[in-house]
Subunit: 300 residues, 2 copies
């Protein structure tokens, strides 16, 4: 008898969370090529774009064109971010089957960014959740600043728990817990996840780390040990942090996949194809890849 | 009653393992300034240089000048690497009180690099260990390629255990287990450390990770969980890997210290002074720092 395969689902967020924080604006056809390449790596979930207002995020103003242009590989999910009903309508008009909504666990962050309390921010996308439920559209919820906030500093774990629980109660099938500014360390990440998992089942939780302080993989390891099996990452470690200039962005999918496979955790991802995609993307962005694996593998 | 403070000793290897793999040759006075700066950060152990043949490592040909020039802060240890009796004599002539010897756990690596088996390589520095014992000089032992070898690939854990046990029996007060090419992942690092700790007490073991594949901090975390409390690292993540061009070097001391302090593990290191030293060193080397913490902290 063989042991059951322990599987981790990687949610690739590079085309959205990564590119929306890159200085270089890529043309729609390059974004389409990126997502098509990612679709062939074995990744099961690829966040495609964001239907936020182009005034907020000019990098993703071509959301409809990109979503329409990508090859939809059977079995692969292509969620898109939506901030409100208007975004939802735009996403649905081009056939999006899965969406993601977002809020922060930090009161100060919400106030500063959208001039609303946490509760008000959730109320604002309640109509989206209702419409999604009626339409049979799956909704993922992002909670940002779970381990620290650029405005208020520490974020009480109780606030993270409350927000995650609320999103779950409102119908999100999965809650992604994000260390937006990448300040967390393993013991804190573990304690936060453990607290949230008292209120939301672990199978409905994902972790989302930025590598600003180099802690992302260690934090992921701590959370894997705690039982999480969904990890967000971005190929080539794209993105940045508007609150820490020069800082690195999302943890690189290549580095996550390398760690997981090395630990015997199945991801379904072909690392060679992923590395080739990461190297290609960093060339498109005219910057050195932030993935150590891709750097090592592509070194002459 | 307060809980006892859980302490991790960081062994700073940047001035030796880091600089010996940098393309840029620093003048002796800059190396002296580096070590003097490091001495003021609270680090308790700073490997100062290597008395190997200048023909092998031209970067450290000024070992005697550097060792003589540095300020010896009371309470801080300044070990130096020695490969043989000749190096030992040179080190002792300038007053070195502590030395380190090295071998690999990979037969192929030893054959290729010094044309000797593991056992022969150990026999070669036996006279050094005997002299050190007679002189009351403390000896640290490095075992390299503990999680992989550029020539033979996988390295049997039994070989790592055998070499570590041998070095311990020969009088090394501490054995540093090095993933020289940075290919290890947390589960393998943990299993290797656990196996070695069956033969050598955990308090006499250190871990030494290179960040080639971005796994270093995660590997350190796994080893801390296993009980190790001594970690090697290099300020600014200097060094490289001659077997993977363009790859990153030692794990950065700043990133290690940030993680440890965030986990409530006491290091005694002043992170601000460390970051300032790392930023200064990367300027001297004309390259971007490999430390994510220093990058984030010094971003404009």
């Amino acid at each position: 008898m063989t042991a059951p395969v322990d599987t981790v689902r990687i949610v690739e967020v590079g085309a959205r969370d990564g590119l929306q924080n890159e200085k270089t604006l890529l043309p729609a056809e390059v974004k389409i090529a990126l997502i098509d390449r990612l679709s062939s790596t074995g990744l099961g979930t690829i966040e495609a774009t964001s239907f936020v207002s182009p005034r907020w995020v000019p990098q993703l103003a071509d959301a409809a064109e990109v979503f329409t242009g990508i090859r939809k590989v059977p079995g692969v999910r292509y969620p898109v971010l939506v901030p409100n009903l208007q975004g939802y309508e735009r996403a649905r008009a081009v056939g999006a089957q899965e969406i993601a909504v977002f809020t922060a666990a930090s009161e100060a962050f919400n106030r500063k960014n959208i001039n609303a309390s946490i509760d008000e921010s959730i109320e604002r996308f309640m109509p989206v959740l209702e419409r999604a439920r009626a339409d049979g559209v799956a909704v993922r919820g992002y909670v940002s600043t779970v381990l620290g906030c650029p405005y208020q500093g520490a974020v009480p774990v109780t606030d993270v728990v409350r927000v995650a629980e609320r999103l779950r109660a409102l119908g999100c099938y999965e809650i992604s817990l994000g260390d937006t500014i990448g300040v967390g360390t393993p013991a804190k990440a573990r304690a936060m996840l453990r607290a949230v998992a008292q209120a939301v089942p672990m199978h409905a939780l994902a972790v989302h780390f930025h590598d600003t302080y180099g802690q992302a993989l260690a934090n992921i390891l701590a959370c894997l040990e705690e039982g999480v099996r969904v990890v967000d990452s971005a190929v080539s470690g794209t993105g940045g942090c508007p609150y820490a200039k020069g800082a690195t962005g999302n943890v690189a999918t290549e580095d996550v996949a390398y760690m997981l496979e090395g630990m015997g955790l199945h991801t379904g991802v072909d690392l060679d194809l992923l590395v080739a995609t990461g190297a290609w993307l960093s060339a498109q962005l005219h910057k050195e890849t932030a993935s150590r694996v891709t750097r090592a593998r592509t070194a002459a």
